[in-house]
């Protein structure tokens, strides 16, 4: 292969792919080797006795954070897509306003308020955080599922029925593939929101990348806040870019 051919993918919009790889490398490096940056933080914040968060490794915090996001998003997506599908079927059409309202309420409720309600019921830690995140992430999934299925042209649906596809075949072969791009866009928003919001789980004892942030805020240690926030921010950006690539695979016409 000539050199020009080897770089061809770069010139054809592959630039963002390279950026994604670079940012992922920075994220992994930051998570694994945060300690190596201690001299940097010591020089930046000379007044602080401990300019590096050491109560837990950043690898552990990041993995806990990812588990919180994965579990809550998995629930949001399965419940949200199922609800979106249900209200766009003939049998569930009358529930559409109700489902939309419930998911909208879930979004308008601040997650902190949800925690305040759920903690007395479910105790501290993982569970109330999952509940808050799930509710918070539901709306974009429900809305985009409904919107995505709504973008399927009526003529395509009529043709699908006219060819003798069963309702199940129409859903799986026509509606979902055509709605997939919009549904994935909803999942993307939901996951990105939850990556940021999962940090507040640390206020009720769920360990996450919010833990150094909260500790920093409480202990007046800006370095901790920066360390937690940098990893969360990078995680969100990398995830967002990965979703963007996924969405593009479902663009037709």
């Amino acid at each position: 292969m000539t050199q020009a051919a080897a770089f061809a993918p770069l010139r054809r919009g592959g630039g963002r792919g390279v950026l994604l790889v670079v940012l992922t490398a920075v994220l992994v490096g930051l998570v694994l080797f945060m300690e190596e940056l201690e001299p940097l933080f010591r020089a930046w914040f000379p007044d602080l006795d401990n300019p590096l968060y050491r109560r837990e490794t950043f690898l552990r915090l990041t993995l806990d954070h990812i588990v919180l996001v994965l579990v809550s998003s998995a629930i949001s997506v399965s419940v949200g897509v199922a609800a979106g599908l249900f209200v766009t079927r003939r049998a569930g059409r009358e529930f559409e306003p109700m489902v939309s309202a419930i998911s909208a309420i879930g979004q308008t409720f601040p997650p902190a308020a949800v925690l305040a309600i759920v903690v007395p019921l479910a105790g501290f830690g993982f569970v109330p955080t999952i509940v808050a995140l799930t509710l918070y992430g539901l709306l974009p999934v429900v809305q985009n599922t409904i919107a995505g299925l709504g973008t399927v042209p009526p003529a395509t649906l009529e043709a699908a029925r006219g060819t003798g596809m069963s309702p199940r075949q129409i859903l799986l072969r026509v509606e979902l593939p055509l709605a997939m791009r919009v549904i994935i866009a909803g999942v993307r928003v939901s996951v990105i929101i939850n990556i940021g919001t999962a940090t507040i789980g640390s206020t009720v004892g769920a360990q996450s990348l919010g833990t150094p942030i909260i500790a920093g805020l409480v202990g007046d240690n800006i370095a901790y806040v920066i360390q937690g926030a940098a990893v969360v921010g990078l995680l969100a950006i990398v995830t967002d870019m990965a979703f963007e690539r996924l969405e593009r695979r479902f663009t037709f016409g």
Partner: protein, 366 residues
């Protein structure tokens, strides 16, 4: 063959299709036509039960299919619609293969069938097979739409204004193509349109609907000669009914022997022919019409031999030309007769303005 027996559709107390019965024989091209809201589209969609029947029966090739599961029925009936409705995430080949796939045909047979259909619609398989719908023009997309409807070789095809959204030139081309495909495949077709010219061009039988009821079901010519009532007469268009009729008439039905003479004939011989026929065609050595004395409108009162008119290529009629076109040429060129030529361009007869009138009244009397 398909029989619709007493099809009735009631929507919220309103009867939109009222006891429509008609039989479309094997290989017939039946056009359902009527004003907006007459129930023609609803009737069509009741055939493949996209619209459920309130009452009535559908008999397909002698088998009562009224209680057959709708999906099974639809796989036996082709369906093409105005908005085409190609699946945007599938290639042309995948779109055409939908019904054969649902019927679980073997892969090789599906591939062969796709090639065959693309060839039937004069789309190059290598070029079009792997294209996506958004890469097609409107005319190409509708060809694929009709090919998809034909894919599983259904005995009946339903078409709901399939050419309604196309520009006039593309529509003409596709109408001609559909007529050819109909001739070649011998499919039974039920076709909905609101365009009477389209109906006259394609139909072997026309069903006129009004307010949900079947008003008349006849061959196109019979429909024009014997409209069942004033509605049909109005719908056919009083103004140009005569011209519409001529779209279904052909030059070979009207051709009469032409008075002719060799170009070397004497003035005396010509005068004799003009005296008995009013005009005379002059032919060259090979028998091709070359000139005309008389039969020119603005010379009607003068001496027919006063001026020789050169026969223009636009004047010629061929036996398979529609009489509407022949008449149009006479009007446009202001002549009262057209030479009819054979494949070699030799004069084989003529059609005249008087002949058009004569045949017309003859038909009316019959």
């Amino acid at each position: 063959m398909i029989e619709l027996q007493g099809l009735t559709k009631v929507y919220g107390g309103k009867t939109v299709v009222d006891d429509v019965s008609l039989t479309v024989g094997q290989g017939e091209f039946c056009v359902l036509i009527g004003p907006s809201g007459c129930g023609k589209s609803t009737t069509l969609k009741m055939v493949n039960r996209l619209v459920p029947l309130t009452s009535g029966r559908i008999v397909l090739d002698g088998e009562d299919v009224t209680t057959l599961p709708a999906e099974q029925l639809r796989r036996r009936i082709g369906y093409a619609i105005q908005s085409i409705g190609l699946f945007p995430h599938w290639t042309v080949a995948e779109n055409i293969a939908v019904v054969p796939k649902l019927l679980k045909w073997p892969k090789a047979r599906i591939a062969d069938r796709v090639e065959e259909l693309l060839a039937l619609f004069q789309l190059d398989a290598a070029e079009f097979r792997d294209k996506y719908p958004h890469q097609l023009s409107g005319g190409q997309a509708q060809r694929v739409g009709v090919a998809r409807a034909l894919a599983a070789d259904p005995s009946v095809m339903l078409m709901d204004e399939p050419f309604g959204a196309l520009d006039p030139i593309t529509r003409d081309v596709l109408q001609a193509e559909l007529a050819r495909v109909h001739r070649e495949t011998g499919k039974t077709i039920i076709f909905v349109t609101h365009d009477m010219d389209e109906a006259l061009k394609l139909a072997t039988r026309i069903a006129i609907l009004n307010e949900g009821r079947l008003v008349q079901y006849d061959r196109p010519i019979e429909l024009m000669f014997e409209p069942a009532d004033d509605f049909v007469r109005d719908f056919l268009g009083k103004a140009d009914l005569g011209l519409k009729l001529l779209t279904r008439r052909w030059v070979h039905q009207y051709v009469a022997p032409a008075p002719w003479a060799d170009r070397k004939a004497s003035m005396g011989e010509l005068r004799d022919i003009v005296a008995s026929h009013g005009h005379v065609w002059l032919v060259d050595g090979e028998g091709r019409p070359e000139g005309l004395f008389g039969a020119r409108l603005w010379r009607a009162d003068g001496d027919p031999l006063g001026e020789l008119s050169r026969v223009h290529p636009d004047w010629m009629a061929t036996p398979d030309m529609s009489m509407k076109e022949a008449l149009s040429r006479m009007v446009w060129r202001r002549i009262l007769a057209l030479p009819v030529v054979d494949e070699q361009g030799r004069l084989s007869g003529e059609v005249t303005m008087a002949g058009v009138m004569g045949r017309q009244s003859e038909g009316q009397a019959a």
